[in-house]
Amino acid sequence: MNQSYLPGEIAEIHPDELTEGYWESCARRVLSIQQCAKCQTFRHLPTPTCPKCQSFDYQYTPVSGQGTVYSYTIPHHPVHPALRERGAYNVIVVKLDDAPIKMVSNLVGVADEDIRIDMPVEVTWDEPRPGVVIPRFKPRAV
């Protein structure tokens, strides 16, 4: 039984030279964010060069996976055929605590109507299709 938050049909991933480090870390269930090897600036979406110092050298650095909800929407209309049977779901923007970046995800373990901006959240791992492990988030007690 597939207990993934959203169907696996939409969770095909296509790692390339730039993003494979991110996905390799996800496969180990560790959230890592791209970080400049020279000036240590974090960045997301992955880019070849550091937006601060323009260095091409980077690594994917593990972070705590803790953050807060920066914004959210509740899509009701399924824009992909695989979502037609799913019903409404949430999409959140998470602002991470220990890397000043925003990323898109879903919030699980809470009713959509109870989602609030600034809610503390932490990463939780989901395998929506075999071999694809992606970070979603769940409420975090503080």
């Binding site: 939409i10 979406l45 914004s71 209309h77 824009v79 409404a88």
Partner: protein
């Protein structure tokens, strides 16, 4: 050196408006050619005089359009990057700059949409990557598994944040939708002309909370075009010139593809990303928001009209919702009459071509919701991945 007041829009052309997929035998090329020919007719210019072509996010490039029109020479061509209708005014600005630089004399700026052969914009990230306006496969991996696949969902996130920071409400969004519907009801060509009450708004189905159906633009096929020539030449032509007073294009560098990935810095997250455009536009024009008589603001979604009102200084940060609810956008009595044609929400969605044309109509004095003595019209392209753009037309 500046392009200020050096050129003018002297002709406008729009095809009929079609619901998505209902343009029948008319292809994308047919629609573009029809719009250009109508603009030529409006301007009193023979199509063979066109020696420059400028567009945005449209695969109908000059090598296809020019031979079809029989133009003897192509002396300038330009395509603006960016998403959706962002580059509309930038395409006009490129035409103005090319004429002022001496590359060419008569530029057709055009854009067409025929979604069945291209893509349905509302599902742009649900499709396999590679088409116009789509992101790369690897970057799509960061959003698609989470069900973030549609522009409306992305802008809903930004507007939700605006609501949180400033107290903007869905009543405020409704005010935008209802005001523009009233404008559309005065425009015989508008596709949505039924009255819209607050109940109608709230009864429209939820698409991506907080956006309901009536927060969304139409989905249409069609094309629009304008003819740009030098100001000197424009004086003696068929129509009253709409002088191109100022154009700005671009946006915050860190905006980039942020709308897709939602990675904008905090200071520009709950905005339309037009702050720098507004600064540069007013600087070139030598005017401020208080001088603008009418605003044709790209409205893919109600909330983005509000955020543009703030970016262009018609009100303070967070004040756009109350301004709309108090009637501030109405054509006859508002502080800044906005989207007097009904906009993408209620007239038709042709990626900002209609906003340019409506700006010209206001300058000519021929809008169906004519602002009295309109002298300066602000026109914007879509808040979208950079570059976006805007311009001021002068009578």
């Amino acid at each position: 050196m500046s392009i200020k007041d050096k050129t003018a829009i002297v002709g406008v052309g729009l095809t009929d408006y079609y619901k998505r997929g209902q343009s029948g035998a008319k292809t994308h090329l047919d629609l573009c050619l029809e719009a250009i020919l109508k603009a030529c007719d409006d301007a009193g210019v023979h199509p063979h005089e066109i020696d420059g072509f400028s567009s945005y996010m449209d695969e109908m490039n000059a090598s296809i359009v020019a031979p079809a029109l029989g133009c003897p020479e192509v002396r300038f061509s330009n395509l603006v990057w960016g998403g959706g209708g962002g580059g509309s005014c930038a395409a006009v600005g490129a035409a103005a700059a090319a004429i002022e630089a001496g590359y060419c004399d008569t530029v057709a700026v055009y854009h067409g949409i025929r979604q069945p052969t291209g893509l349905r914009f509302g599902e742009v990230f649900a499709r396999p990557p590679g088409g116009a306006g789509t992101v790369s496969t690897a970057s799509r991996d960061f959003i698609a598994p989470y069900g973030l696949m549609a522009p409306g969902q992305m802008f809903a996130l930004m507007v939700r944040r605006h609501m949180h920071q400033y107290g903007t409400t869905t009543d405020h969004l409704a005010a935008v939708a209802m005001t523009q519907r009233e404008h559309a009801r005065r425009n015989p060509k508008a596709l949505r002309r039924d009255p819209m009450t607050l109940d109608d708004y709230y009864n429209s189905r939820m698409i991506s909370d907080p956006f309901r159906l009536f927060d969304y633009c139409n989905e249409n096929d069609g094309a629009g075009a304008v003819i740009v020539v030098s100001a000197e030449r424009a004086k003696d032509m068929k129509q009253k010139p709409a002088y191109i007073m100022a154009v700005a294009q671009g946006g915050a560098g860190r905006w980039g593809q942020s709308i897709t990935q939602q990675t904008m810095p905090d200071d520009i997250y709950p905005t339309a990303g037009h702050g720098q455009l507004a600064r540069d536009l007013y600087k070139m024009a030598g005017v401020g928001p208080g001088d603008i008589d009418v605003a044709e603001l790209y409205d893919h979604f109600t909330g983005m009209v509000l955020l543009q009102l703030e970016d262009y200084g018609f009100c303070g940060k967070g004040e756009s919702g109350p301004m709309a609810a108090e009637g501030g956008l109405k054509w006859d009595s508002g502080k800044i009459p906005t989207n007097t044609h009904g906009g993408n929400l209620s007239e038709v969605y042709l990626h900002a071509t209609t906003h340019i044309v409506e700006g010209v109509r206001q300058i000519r004095g021929t809008s169906t919701s004519q602002v009295k003595d309109a002298e300066l019209a602000l026109v914007t392209g879509g808040p979208s991945p950079v570059p976006s753009s805007s311009m001021i037309l002068r009578g």
